[in-house]
């Protein structure tokens, strides 16, 4: 797959004499750049849980990652291009993962391998489990499965290669690492009473203010009650929770008019939805 076949690179708009095909190729810079990058993708030697076993099996002789130029697994993030998040991400582990991600040089790619890394998986409800690594770092390819078979992982890797092939050097959105200065690191989460994402600090602060007034902490609009399903939050707290939701809108309105407009819009939509459902019930 990754062996040098110049015909693969050659653009047909520039004709080359037949006997020179295979020796000479005229191509674009993007194409040769992407070809060389995707043919020597070095993954980070980094396993989290069960999926790591399948990842190792993929690297072993039967499935053989080296067919894709990916067999050079580096233990150091500073030498690797691809992070395969292979397994359940716990709150305790996400802190090191974000640190490792920040240490990887651009261009870097992340692959969420398996159900847990993609969205929490079977352990999603657990108190120490992160519902998918994409809540903290950007993910390029998701591979379903629990665990994905080596075939599925290979398919994911091929998909990543396709993604790289499609990135154009002319488009700065595709190749942001050629921008001015280093890219911003992802803020590292803090382990307090629960995991705290620094990007959500403002939201958490607002909720803390509400909590100080006796409103429940962190409860969203009770869509469960609207659906006629017994809600997760005890019924007694339902009313304050609704108040909290409206109060949070008011609190947000003071901070950011744009956000307030969005929240108001959502409130209106929810009210419409509730009314519609109420109407259905009465029929």
């Amino acid at each position: 797959m990754s062996q040098l076949d110049l015909r693969e690179l050659h653009s047909p708009e520039f004709p080359v004499p037949t006997d020179m095909q295979g020796n000479v190729a005229i191509t674009s810079l993007s194409k040769i750049y992407n070809w060389s990058r995707r043919s020597s993708m070095w993954p980070l030697l980094f396993g989290l849980a069960c999926c790591a076993i399948e990842m190792i099996a993929t690297a072993a002789s039967r499935y053989d990652l080296s067919r894709f130029g990916m067999e050079v697994m580096r233990a150091s993030p500073r030498q690797s291009d691809l992070m395969i998040v292979s397994g359940t991400v716990t709150k305790k582990m996400v802190v090191p993962i974000v640190r490792i991600y920040n240490q990887m040089p651009e261009p870097k790619y992340v692959m969420a391998m398996g159900a847990c890394a993609s969205g929490g998986g079977p352990f999603k409800e657990g108190y120490n489990v992160v519902s998918g690594i994409d809540q903290y770092i950007p993910v390029d390819v998701y591979i379903p499965g629990c665990p994905p078979t080596p075939q599925a992982l290979l398919y994911g890797l091929i998909s990543l290669q396709k993604k790289i092939d499609g990135q154009s050097l002319a488009n700065m959105d595709d190749v942001p690492w050629y921008g001015v200065g280093p890219s911003d690191p992802v803020p590292v989460p803090v382990l307090g009473p629960d995991i705290i994402d620094p990007r959500q600090a403002e939201l958490i602060r607002q909720q803390a203010v509400l909590a100080a007034q006796g409103k429940p902490f962190g409860v969203r609009e009770l869509s469960g009650a609207a659906l006629g399903v017994r809600a997760a939050v005890p019924v007694v707290e339902a009313k304050p929770a609704l108040e909290a939701a409206t109060a949070s809108t008011e609190a947000a309105a003071e901070l950011d008019p744009e956000k307030a407009a969005r929240l108001a819009k959502r409130e209106a939509a929810l009210a419409r939805k509730r009314a519609a459902q109420g109407g259905e019930k009465s029929e």
Binding site: G47, L48, A49, C50, A52, I53, E54, I56, A57, A60, S61, R62, A75, G87, T88, T90, K92, M93, P96, I100, C116, G120, P122, F123, K124, E125, G126, Y127, N128, V129, V130, S131, Q135, P147, T149, Q151, V190, L191, G192, P193, D194, I195, I196, D197, Q200, L203, I204, A208, A211, F217, G218, V219, R220, L222, S223, G224, L227, V229, R230, A232
Partner: protein, 624 residues
């Protein structure tokens, strides 16, 4: 004539008489556990240490298998610690319980009696908030310092809490599906206490790890004798991201130059709340979760859990034990799993020794053949989810064709029994011999392994080490023989032991055990032939939603990594609850690590990695 008989020594008393002995010796402190379906004795917690010492020294229960907490919130509003002690000479458990009120819960520590209680008590403190006065190092083990609350308490609710028990009303039978993130305003799996103060928020999660190390500066120069090399004392973190920690394990090591002074395991990086989820799940739902404990030997985990629940089911009226064919298939699967696990373990031990990936490649290649068989039978390579209460999921297929890899499977089409016979009689013995031939006499391996990481037998028993780790220290303790289950009593095999207890012996014992497994598998083959076509469920009917009678049970199996125990309690609903009240996993990888600090002391940094590799841990099980 009876008075002519010599009195039976207390160390040989049957469990029932041993309990009588205890009650006579401590008439005030020891009482029978009279709850329906429960056994053992309840011990007044003020006398717990004395009683435990008598149990160990006078009655000979030298081996503490499991120590775990149960929260009876809403039933009798107390918490209790449950201890299962065994004799290394064999026999059933002596079950002791110490009860404590839920407020200011406190139970004296038994680390002084059985050092193997160390991590288990720390876990009970972490997850239940029980204080253990007398514990040398009582701090959180799976979660971080500063975590809000003790999550395994029954009144502690996680951020995505919906209901106490599955199936959730919202999902079944009404069929609404809602993403849990939608209810949480942060869109994440988080909950904060109401008095959260963000202004003084600093990450204190690692404070206690370093607190005992007396660190003022990072590097401290140690004065050396004249003529010797001057060294520095420094603290090194190995992990959680480290290629040789077999996952996300972390060790904080204090070094004098290159020599290990202290080593502290730090875990919980893969703590995925197995037990909390398990208590929300229905009985059957836990089987696929057990696959993900020790994810290299999923069949063995299935077996342990299924056996524990079957013990409970056996107390009810409508229980029929698994058929003979089901038992044979179970043993076949478990022993194949043992070979898978040991191949993997040896491959990666060599990896840790620096033979990067070459021996592992050979070990993995043979493993794939077994996984093919698992895939054809159970439908999955790794997470087999194969065993069921009173039987197995499916009979062996007639022909082996995979379903996921259609390209290869044009070639892969075998008669299952022929495939198995070839695998067991030829392929596996050949690959074990191959490993033996190339590795055992290697000069490098001998130099690196002999005399490294010695675990003396007494220490192994005291620290509750199990499995190959304990047997390599010369203690012939194998549950398949000592507390037999399934069809093991009629099978012919030996308990392997090795005398020295070093890394080299732990490598050799895995070869020995694989050969014993081959012996067992060879005996399974004719039994499979003979029972061809028989039912795999008694009455040919699987029970998917069992009403499990009220009570407790401790099922344990000899998993490839050691003793895997499941302590399950069925409580609450008098008709027979559909969900476990308590679901505890006594994980061999977790408890085998208790002795790691002792084993590494005085060795070089490079040896830590090898010693850890020779214990053979898997993090899914360590952290659960």
């Amino acid at each position: 004539m009876t008075d002519m008989l010599a009195p039976v020594a207390p160390t040989e008393l049957e469990t029932g008489s041993a309990l009588e002995y205890l009650k006579n010796k401590f008439p005030d402190a020891v009482k029978d556990d009279t709850r329906q379906g429960f056994g053992g004795v309840v011990i007044d917690r003020s006398k717990l240490v004395d009683v435990a010492r008598a149990v160990r020294d006078e009655l000979g229960y030298d081996y503490l298998s499991s120590a775990t907490a149960v929260d009876y919130h809403g039933i009798s509003d107390h918490m209790e610690m449950v201890y299962h002690a065994f004799r290394t000479s064999g026999g059933p458990a002596l079950v002791m319980k110490a009860q404590t009120p839920r407020e200011n819960a406190e139970v004296p520590s038994l680390v002084g009696v059985w050092p193997g209680a160390d991590f288990q008590e720390r876990e009970a403190y972490d997850l239940y908030g029980i204080q253990f006065p007398g514990h040398p190092n009582q701090k959180r083990i799976l979660l971080w310092d500063g975590f809000d609350g003790h999550p395994m308490r029954k009144d502690w609710k996680e951020a995505y809490y919906e209901e106490d028990h599955k199936p959730f009303e919202s999902r079944w039978p009404k069929g609404y599906v809602r993403r849990a993130e939608e209810l949480n305003i942060f869109g994440k799996n988080v909950r904060y206490p109401a008095d959260l103060d963000l202004s003084r928020l600093t990450d204190t999660s690692e404070q206690s790890i370093y607190s005992g190390m007396g660190l003022g500066v990072d590097v401290q120069e140690l004065t050396a004798e004249p003529g010797q090399m001057r060294t520095d004392r420094l603290v090194v973190n190995l992990g959680p991201h480290h290629p040789s920690t077999h996952g996300v394990f972390r060790m904080v090591v204090t070094l004098d130059g290159e020599t290990v002074e202290t080593l502290e395991p730090v875990m919980g990086y893969l703590h995925r709340n197995h037990e909390k989820i398990g208590e929300r799940n229905a009985w059957l739902m836990n089987i696929p979760f057990t696959d993900r404990l020790d994810y290299i030997s999923s069949m063995g985990n299935n077996m342990g859990y299924v056996m524990a629940v079957e013990q409970l089911l056996a107390k009810g009226a409508r229980y029929t034990p698994p058929t003979y064919r089901a038992e044979v298939i179970r043993v076949l699967m478990v022993e194949l799993t043992r070979i898978v696990n040991h191949l993997w373990a040896i491959g990666f031990l060599l990896n840790d020794l620096g033979a990067f990936f070459t021996p592992a490649l050979y070990a993995i290649a043979e493993r794939e053949k077994i996984l093919d068989f698992f895939e054809a039978t159970a439908g999955s390579r790794l997470m087999c989810n194969y065993m069921r209460f009173q039987g197995v999921y499916k009979d062996l297929p007639e022909r082996m064709r995979g379903t996921s890899n259609t390209l290869n499977d044009k070639i892969r089409d075998f008669n299952t029994m022929d495939y198995l016979a070839e695998l067991i009689n030829e392929r596996l013995p050949r690959s074990i011999d191959e490993l033996d031939h190339f590795l055992t006499d290697s000069e490098i391996i001998k130099t690196r392994c002999e005399g490294v990481g010695i675990l003396p037998p007494e220490m192994g028993v005291a620290y509750s080490a199990t499995g190959p780790l304990l047997r390599a220290s010369g203690v012939p303790y194998d549950i398949r023989r000592m507390d037999p289950y399934s069809i093991y009593p009629e099978l012919d095999f030996d308990i392997c032991t090795r005398p020295n207890g070093d890394v080299y012996d732990r490598y050799l014992i895995r070869l020995d055990e694989m050969r014993e497994s081959i012996r067992i598998l060879k005996q399974c083959l004719p039994r499979l032939e003979a029972t061809q076509g028989e039912d795999i469920f008694a009455g040919n009917k699987a029970i998917y939603a069992p009403r499990v009678p009220v009570g407790e049970a401790y099922g344990r199996v000899d998993n490839p990594k050691g003793e895997l125990g499941f302590y399950v309690v069925s409580e609450g609903d008098p008709k027979g609850p559909q969900n476990p009240w308590r679901y505890h996993v006594r994980a061999p990888s977790f408890i085998n690590l208790t002795a790691l600090g002792q084993m590494c002391k005085g060795h070089k940094v490079a040896d830590i990695v090898v010693i850890l590799g020779s214990i053979d841990i898997v993090l899914g099980e360590t952290d659960r």
